[in-house]
């Protein structure tokens, strides 16, 4: 299993979530974050904005689905046809173990259909 963490523009979040849902990866966790990148924020006149609001999307997928998920996020999160500064970053890190709390079962890479960050449903 791998964890894919994508930092995307807030206005692109819905497009990414929809693309992931259509691609068959519904399980996602979203957190609002602020940050800056290589461009050191945005300078407008005299003021530099270096805490730009972004959304952090976390999803855990099987290793073999990694490239497809990254491609899906990349296409949906890009602004314009060729992309521009501030579209975000995607980080991939290994996940050693995954447990589902409701069943208490450890999910194995090839057994689980699709394990996501948040198992939603029920009464929250």
């Amino acid at each position: 299993m791998v964890m894919v963490r994508a930092i995307v523009r807030p206005e692109k979040t819905d497009a990414v979530l929809e693309a992931l849902m259509d691609a068959g990866f519904p399980a996602v966790t979203k957190v609002s974050v602020v940050g800056r990148g290589k461009q050191r924020g945005i300078k407008i006149g005299e003021i530099t904005y270096d805490e730009l609001p972004k959304e952090l999307l976390i999803t855990v997928v099987k290793s073999k689905d990694k490239d497809y998920v990254i491609k899906t996020i990349m296409q949906a999160a890009r602004s314009g046809s060729s992309g521009s500064f501030g579209d975000g970053k995607i980080f991939v890190s290994p996940v050693e173990e995954v447990y589902t709390v409701s069943s208490g079962v450890k999910d194995e890479d090839d057994l689980v259909a699709q394990a996501g960050a948040a198992d939603a449903g029920g009464e929250g």
């Binding site: 855990v60 173990e97 709390v101």
Partner: protein, 126 residues
């Protein structure tokens, strides 16, 4: 060292905090987050569709709704991973979908900012 990342129900946070402290794992980080899993069920849409509202029926299958959750990050030495995972599961298990997920990730290095200690020593309780 391992990072135990758990996504749990928001109303379970106090119970989980207590259970972890009792198990000897008092330090952790918690955040609010939104999420959805593989079995997203929007009950208001379901109930509406049951009663035959056209609007609700058209929304069936469009599950864009994200559910508020708590996101816990706990960094523990290798030998405490099992205990941490079992504590979180036993505190949060209701048996229904939506109880959450636990991920165990490798951590390369840990430092304590106050003293500059590195590795497992930085995780030891003083």
């Amino acid at each position: 060292m391992k990072e135990v990342m758990a996504i749990i129900r928001i109303n379970m946070i106090n119970k989980t905090k207590k259970a972890l402290a009792d198990a000897g794992i008092p330090s952790f980080m918690a955040r609010e987050c939104l999420g959805r899993g593989k079995g997203v069920v929007d009950f208001s849409v379901l109930r509406g569709a049951e009663k035959g509202y056209e609007e609700a029926i058209s929304q069936l299958g469009q599950t864009q709704r994200l559910i508020p959750k708590r996101w816990l990050t706990i960094v523990v030495p290798d030998k405490l991973v099992r205990r941490t995972v079992e504590t979180i599961i036993s505190a949060n298990q209701t048996g229904k979908a939506g109880d959450g997920k636990i991920f165990v990730l490798p951590i390369a290095e840990v430092y304590r900012v106050r003293t500059g200690e590195a590795g497992d020593r930085a995780l030891d309780e003083a």
